[in-house]
Subunit: 355 residues, 3 copies
């Protein structure tokens, strides 16, 4: 695997495509209201709002009459009136009014995206509506969202001007926390941690083991553990291609691998391509201890994540200059990332093959 | 006509070309002085100024020696001295001086655009100068400019980052005033107004009839009519492809269609492509009542027109993402716009056919 | 030579390529420190720093592992630790550490650019390191840098968003000082000065003669000569394609061409393409009189050079609109510039031919 060619046989991570017959998180629940919200998802412009009954609706954000974004129109009851010539579309996407005439052309409609609202996430089906299967949405309990004894919070949505594959690979190689976030998330020991990579059907799991870690002040504060004590830490990434990544911190008494964790912090992140060079990272956190998240805590995480964002954007820019054949050199720790790349590439190719 | 395919057989309105053997307004009279003014017209860079005798001149804004914009040079008498190496060009476009040598290469010249200054508009001929025919400029009296009993004013030039065809079509479907300019130009009745479309040679006329309109405060102020009274209103657009559109408001006593209008407001707008995605709208107004236009009045019109500009730019951006084959769905009220599109497309094709 | 076709047979000056097997100045000495400096040279991103012993180092600014710019990493001793996953590269460019494993893939390395530090300039060899020959660097004594009795200073590096060929040609036609820098560098007599063009192997020399020049205030101040006196001035440009241009001012007693100059001011400028539309101009000055350059003096030169920069950027933009076939019209004074264009074009073609 120490081989520059191996990874180049795959799609360049800066130019990964996206499978459409998938659910992607397009908003946190509290972002969608009785107002029109525009969002770009998989290159599509989408307008989001809630009906009077509170159901979220997502329609294609382009009036089929003259191309005006519907999000610039007006919400009237459950329908959107276009802000240019007043053509009106109901929550099913069908046209319900053409002001200048009585007859409504029967084919005039906008695409309606199937939605599922679950926990505080709104998932949209981006492909053929006939194939939308809510069972494909990852089990939220397994993610730690709504799990008994855990406190779960939505934190923020970060926009990254880079391909989403780069974010998946960032999260699968957490050795980077020592170098990109020095002193903030580890005690200078993530880079050399031993690791094991596991493959579970279409999921990837990589565990980094950091036994006998001395808790520095930043870690103690972040994970609610006593500064200066020693702890066995497992840092786990589980990737659900193409749309989710979960990072877990499991802290145990040193030398007691079978004990229940003293502290368990789960960070589920929904990952949604906005377009070829745009990614949304809907970040949440679930802790095994009860907590009321403060703005200060969330700002701290935001600041750490901006370091990732800046790195990914610099890498994207480099590929954009050099093109998709720019070489990369993979080592053993990259096997998980390359597997993720392969899985998503296969998803895209299977869709393309089907037409 | 309720058919998505019909309009797609035409050129996409975001990518309309422009005929060159035509006159286009390139400036208001008071913009052209004893200074060098750069303007982009039909993709060309042009430099405008007046001779010592006050005649307007338009030359290609590129020194043929080394490509420096002449508009960065100096006006000396009736000639422009290039600001790089001092090559000098007279008002006919011919080179009159090369500082480093006595001989002037006989072929060294810049293109001179034929100009006609009429009322407060400066019209330039953008094609073969041999074909320039001032008779092709629309009759200004017919436009209400310089008509006895009318007060005419130049208002402003608005720049729109969208194709000029989109502006022509905006003005031909004035039902939009109800939705894009709510409460500002009508009393919520333009959208459902009955209309008739007429074709006069290469001109298009669409009349929207709004009998028994209750004059709200905004309309009363704008059209100098008593608030709260009832009036019969005709809202007329007359398009002179490719370079002009005239919107008229005709107000009459209810039920007296043959009476002379109580108030008549004509808004002639010269429409000039700056390039494929740039349009100038030289807006003027002529009223049947005497008035001294105030800055407040003009600002009000400016604000309304910025709503059109923003809509057209959003539509252009949408087409730029989706490409010229993005679908549109036309209804009966779009017949006038599609006819305008056809006329301009034919003009362009005839020029292309001729080579 | 008064012929539009002649110069068009050459490469368009806005799209000149660059030979790679050449030395180019990439920084002034004092810009390169114990910090990581990114610079773009011939389209490559380069990271510059000094070793603990003070030797300048230039490496390709892209980690071969995952494409992170190394300039965002950390300098540790003489090595750069990548700021993403900690891969570390020594001053030879070879990888010396992969944190997650003991084995270092033998082929993992970044390109190291040969450097020569001479006077206050750092020259980098941008092509095949095996061909790097320091003897190809122009003789600095000849340039007036480090010459006995002369005071030499580094002034500034100006970035110009235009092709470097346009800068070479700007400096070869110094008649422009009368028009682009009126009253600042001459007494309205550079444009009509007689000139002679000389070719010395791969160098070009053009001498403009301005006898009996009346020294105005600006010139007197700039060249330390008495205002109001008469002087014979030679304005000489010597171009060393592709990477250097030297402008000299030689002032003598009127009518005494064989006397040693009263004042001699040499302005050597290293010219380095950052990319197709980016040029660095590393400007220095050497005077025959001793002087301590002041900020005011340097600001004055900076302001004059911004006029050149703005002109070259406007010309580049014009070519970018019209394309490389945009016509230009050359006269006798352009022979030197066209020869320079030919020499560089030939250099590029010889490299291409060799593969």
């Amino acid at each position: 695997m120490d081989d520059a060619r191996r990874s180049n046989a795959l799609v360049c991570p800066a130019y990964q495509g996206y499978p459409r017959n998938q659910w992607y998180v397009v908003a946190f629940s509290n972002e969608v209201k009785r107002e029109l919200l525009q969002r770009r998802v998989l290159g599509d412009l989408m307008v989001l709002y809630r009906t009077e009954d509170g159901m979220p609706v997502a329609l294609a954000d382009r009036c089929p009459h003259r191309g005006m974004p519907l999000s610039k129109g007006t919400l009237i009851g459950d329908a959107i009136q276009c802000g240019y010539h007043g053509f009106t579309f109901g929550a099913t996407g069908g046209c319900v009014r053409v002001p200048s005439q009585d007859a409504i052309p029967s084919k005039m409609a906008v695409h309606k995206y199937p939605l599922v609202e679950k926990w505080q996430w709104i998932w949209a089906w981006m492909g053929d509506p006939a194939k939308a299967d809510p069972a494909m949405i990852p089990d939220h309990h397994e993610l730690g969202l709504g799990r008994a004894g855990y406190t779960a919070s939505a934190i923020f949505c970060m926009e990254i001007k880079a391909n989403y594959q780069l974010l998946h690979e960032n999260l699968l190689d957490t050795s980077h926390i020592q170098y990109l976030h020095p002193g903030q998330l580890d005690n200078d020991n993530a880079g050399e941690a031993t690791f094991k990579t596991e493959y579970l059907d279409d999921r990837i799991r990589i565990v980094r083991e950091m036994p006998n870690t001395l808790l520095n002040a930043a870690m103690a504060r972040l994970f609610k553990l006593p500064e200066g004590s020693l702890i066995d830490r497992d840092l786990v990434t589980e990737t659900y291609p193409p749309n989710l990544s979960v990072v877990q911190n499991v802290f145990r008494e040193p030398g007691r691998p079978n004990d229940p964790p003293k502290v368990h912090v789960i960070v589920p992140m929904a990952i949604t391509p906005g377009g070829p060079r745009l990614t949304y990272q809907f970040t949440t956190v679930a802790t095994s201890y009860p907590e009321q998240r403060t703005k200060q805590q969330n700002d701290h995480v935001w600041n750490v994540f901006t370091q990732d964002r800046d790195a990914l954007e610099a890498i994207q820019q480099g590929f954009d200059e050099l093109g998709p054949d720019a070489p990369e050199f993979s080592v053993k720790a990259d096997q998980a990332a390359l597997r993720c790349r392969q899985i998503i590439t296969d998803m895209v190719r299977r869709e393309e093959a089907r037409g």
